[in-house]
Amino acid sequence: MSLDTSQPLKFARQYKLQWEKAQDAWVLLYPEGMVKLTGSAGEILTRIDGERSAQDIIDNLQAAFPGADLQQDVIDFLEHAHDKGWITPV
């Protein structure tokens, strides 16, 4: 399912992003489960705030990590997150 990159994104109902000291990682919590996120997945998902669109997130990351071409990787991951039902357009 392809994602409209101009639409603001938010977490789906019941999904919560949280920093876990014990795991030294961002995790995504949902009923009776948890996904431990890689560093780059954490960087992407922490930018989801109900206002930024996929393109805003890419721009924001591009500014934070100049020199890297992130466009396609970020879109691929956001589409994966959307397919998994973690995030949804506002």
Binding site: Q14, K16, E20, K21, Q23, L29, Y30, P31, E32, M34
Partner: protein, 383 residues
């Protein structure tokens, strides 16, 4: 106690999931209840609010992140809202497991404000109550009211229905009601034969024909409703030939805390002989999780006997359930007899064979069913 710093303790991962059984008090008398038979002996020894919060804080510091608040009926304690709110502040993802009895609008509003993440509503369900439930407008209205409240407060409607021989043929009516309540998730799990359900096993185990019928009805609903109502159907493990990976392995992720403060690697472990389970009143969670003899007893695989010890599937199912191995074979280190490789497997297949008796002869062979109530429980205290 095993000392910390031993090779084993370096490999022990922190608990991730805490189940807080805050009380065994319950207005219901379900014949399949997995609470201990002598649950009534905990009534005078329940942890205080402060003791609960201390234990939850300690587990959270180790890395626990999922929290179930269950019982008994957790709403029987009037500090349930406070425990939920404080746990949520600590950073737990909090799930309340309730029959819905006692869930008023005032209480659900307090839970929402306190940050409760999910509510799982179970059907109270024994023969008489099931019949009442299916026929009585009063009970149905109560359930519908609770279901509406859950929706109104923007929680998904998660319904748990325990299936067994006496209600499984009502599956269509059960699912119709779930649909009317606009359930989002419905878990239809057959009862597992522990505690009260083991006492009533003959009464509760469905026949193969009943299971097939129920699964077929589930599939019809799945086809018609798709993702609108997600259905999970779980057959009794006695019908399998490999055991469940119970608790994902002893002392690996799950910490159960009983109302009296006993720390257990699963809901049932209290009845295993020869192990002294530590109490949260006397020890902190770190000591209990990493150092106690009880939590180390069945970690890893050095405790295993044959056929588990040399089995190439031992890291997949960890030899199954220690409690079931003990209950059915008398030794918790044996393979769970659900496994077809177990020399005790016939104990399980004999029960399954018995369950194939015709429904119509039930009345002649039916043993007395034992309800989970305080009077019956007190009779087990001295056993």
């Amino acid at each position: 106690m095993t000392k910390a710093g031993s090779p084993l303790s370096d490999t022990i991962k922190p608990p991730l999931w805490v189940n807080a059984e805050i009380t065994y008090k319950c207005p219901l008398h379900c014949v399949f209840c997995y609470n201990p038979l002598n649950y009534a002996s905990t009534f005078e020894k329940e942890l205080t609010t402060e003791q609960w919060l201390k234990a939850l804080r300690e587990a959270r510091e180790l890395g626990a992140v999922q929290l179930g608040i269950s019982g008994g009926e957790p709403l029987m304690r009037d500090d349930c809202e406070e425990i939920v709110a404080e746990a949520s502040k600590m950073g737990y993802y909090v799930n309340l497991l309730t029959s819905g009895i006692g869930l008023t609008e005032e209480r659900i509003a307090a839970f929402k404000a306190g940050g409760l993440d999910q509510i799982q509503l179970s059907f109270q369900d024994s023969t008489k109550e099931m019949n009442d439930f299916l026929s009585s407008t009063r009970t149905f209205d109560l359930k519908r009211k609770v279901a509406r409240l859950i929706k109104q407060y923007d929680y998904p409607m998660v319904l748990n229905v325990v299936l067994h021989r006496l209600n499984i043929d009502h599956i269509e009516q059960i699912l119709q009601m779930a649909e009317e309540m606009e359930a989002d998730h419905v878990e239809l799990a057959n009862s597992q034969y522990y505690a009260w359900a083991l006492k009533n096993r003959e009464q509760l185990m469905p026949s193969r024909e009943q299971l097939e019928h129920a699964e077929a009805v589930c599939n019809q609903f799945r086809e018609r409703l798709g993702n609108k109502m997600k259905l999970y159907f779980v057959v009794p493990d006695y019908y399998q030939d490999r055991p469940k990976a119970c608790m994902n392995g002893w002392g690996t992720v799950f910490l159960n805390i009983a109302p009296d403060g006993l720390a257990l690697p699963c809901h049932e472990a209290r009845m295993l002989p020869g192990l002294e389970f530590p109490n949260l009143r006397d020890h902190d969670v770190r000591t209990i999780w990493y150092e106690s003899e009880a939590f180390n007893a069945y970690r890893g695989d050095s405790w295993m006997k044959e056929p588990c010890r040399s089995c190439d599937e031992k890291h997949k199912d960890f030899g199954g359930c220690r409690c079931q191995a003990y209950m059915l074979t008398g030794d918790a280190r044996n393979a769970d007899p659900v496994c077809s490789k177990s020399p005790h497997h016939s104990i399980v297949t004999d029960q399954v064979a018995l369950a194939q008796r015709a429904q119509s002869t039930d009345d002649d062979v039916r043993p007395v069913i034992i309800f989970r109530d305080d009077k019956n429980s007190r009779a087990f205290v001295d056993d």
